[in-house]
Symmetry: C2
C-alpha cells in the first residue's frame, strides 16, 4: 500500500500543474494567506514553470499580530471566533485578495501538530477559498483518528486547497 | 553519485532542524521575504515542530507591486538597481524585519528559470540575510554551467540562506 505522503505528493504534482495551466489560459491570478501550512501551498504553486504569470502574493502569517497588522484580519473576528476558525480563514482569504487584487485566493488556519492547542486537536484545519463571488470554507478535520503526522496534515491541507481551486476555476 | 536534489534535501533537513532549535534556545524570531523561492524557505522552517515559536512572518512577493506596496521596498531601489539585485534583496530583508520585529530576516530575489529574464540568466539569485547589526548579501550565481533545473535552483537557494542563518546565529 502506498503511503499517504506519496499519494498526496502525486495528487499535488498533477493538480498544481493543471491549476497553473488553467489560470494562464484564463488570465487569472491567485494569492494565498497561510498559517499552519507555512508557505507550502505558495511553494507548490510557484514550483510550476510559468507560475510567475499567475501568482500574485503569499503571506505566511503564523502569529495573530501578523494576521491583524499585515493582512488586516479584524481583531474582533479573532476574539469572537478564535484564530483557528472558518471566519478567520475567510477573512485571511478576503484580505490577501484585497491586498493583491487577485481573482482567486485562499486562507488556511489550523493546527498541524504534533499536539493540539488546548482547544482544537492536531488536524483541525480551516480552509477558505474565494473565487470572484464564490466562497467556500470548511474544517478539514484531517486527523480524526490521530494517525497523521505534521507533514501529512500540511500535505492533506494543500491537496484540499488545490482541489477546491481547481473546481472553482474549471466550473465557472 | 547522489543527485543534487538528494544532497540539498539532506542538508536542508539537518540544518533547518538545527537552526530552529538554536533559535528556540536563544529566543530569536525569523521572518522571510521570498521571490523566486516562492515560499519554499518559509515552508522548510515551519516544517520543523516548534517552529511556531520562532517563525514570525513570511511574504512571498513575486510581483514588483507586492514588493513595493506590501513589503515597502522603495520604487527607487527597484528602478536604480533592478528587481533582481542585492540592493532589492537587502531592502526585502530589511522591510520584512521592520514589519515583523524579528531578530533575523532574509530576502531572496532571482531567476529560478527555466530561462532568464533577458538581463540575467536562470540561476542569478541574490540573497540577503540580516541578523541584528550584521548584513550579508550575495549573488549565488547558481547555474554557471546551465545544468540546474528550476527546482534545483530553488533548493540551492534555500541551502544558502539556511547556511548563512546558521552561521550568524551560532557565531554571534
Amino acid at each position: 500500500m502506498r503511503s499517504f505522503e506519496a499519494l498526496a505528493r502525486e495528487y499535488i504534482d498533477k493538480t498544481a500543474g493543471f491549476v497553473v495551466q488553467c489560470m494562464i489560459e484564463k488570465n487569472l491570478r491567485i494569492s494565498l494567506a497561510e498559517s499552519c501550512t507555512g508557505g507550502m501551498i505558495s511553494q507548490i504553486i510557484t514550483s510550476v514553470p510559468g507560475a510567475s504569470g499567475i501568482f500574485e502574493c503569499g503571506v505566511v502569517s503564523y502569529s495573530e499580530r501578523i494576521k491583524e497588522e499585515l493582512l488586516g484580519v479584524p481583531k474582533s473576528i479573532i476574539e469572537k471566533y478564535g484564530v483557528v476558525s472558518s471566519e478567520t480563514a475567510i477573512s485571511m482569504a478576503e484580505n490577501v485578495m484585497r491586498i493583491s487584487g487577485s481573482d482567486i485566493s485562499a486562507g488556511v488556519t489550523g493546527i498541524a501538530g504534533p499536539g493540539g492547542d488546548g482547544i482544537n486537536p492536531a488536524g483541525t484545519v480551516y480552509i477558505a477559498v474565494i473565487y470572484k463571488d464564490k466562497r467556500y470554507a470548511a474544517n478539514l478535520a484531517l486527523n480524526r483518528f490521530g494517525e497523521l503526522t505534521r507533514q501529512e496534515i500540511r500535505l492533506g491541507t494543500a491537496c484540499a486547497v488545490l482541489k477546491k481551486a481547481e473546481e472553482f476555476i474549471n466550473r465557472h
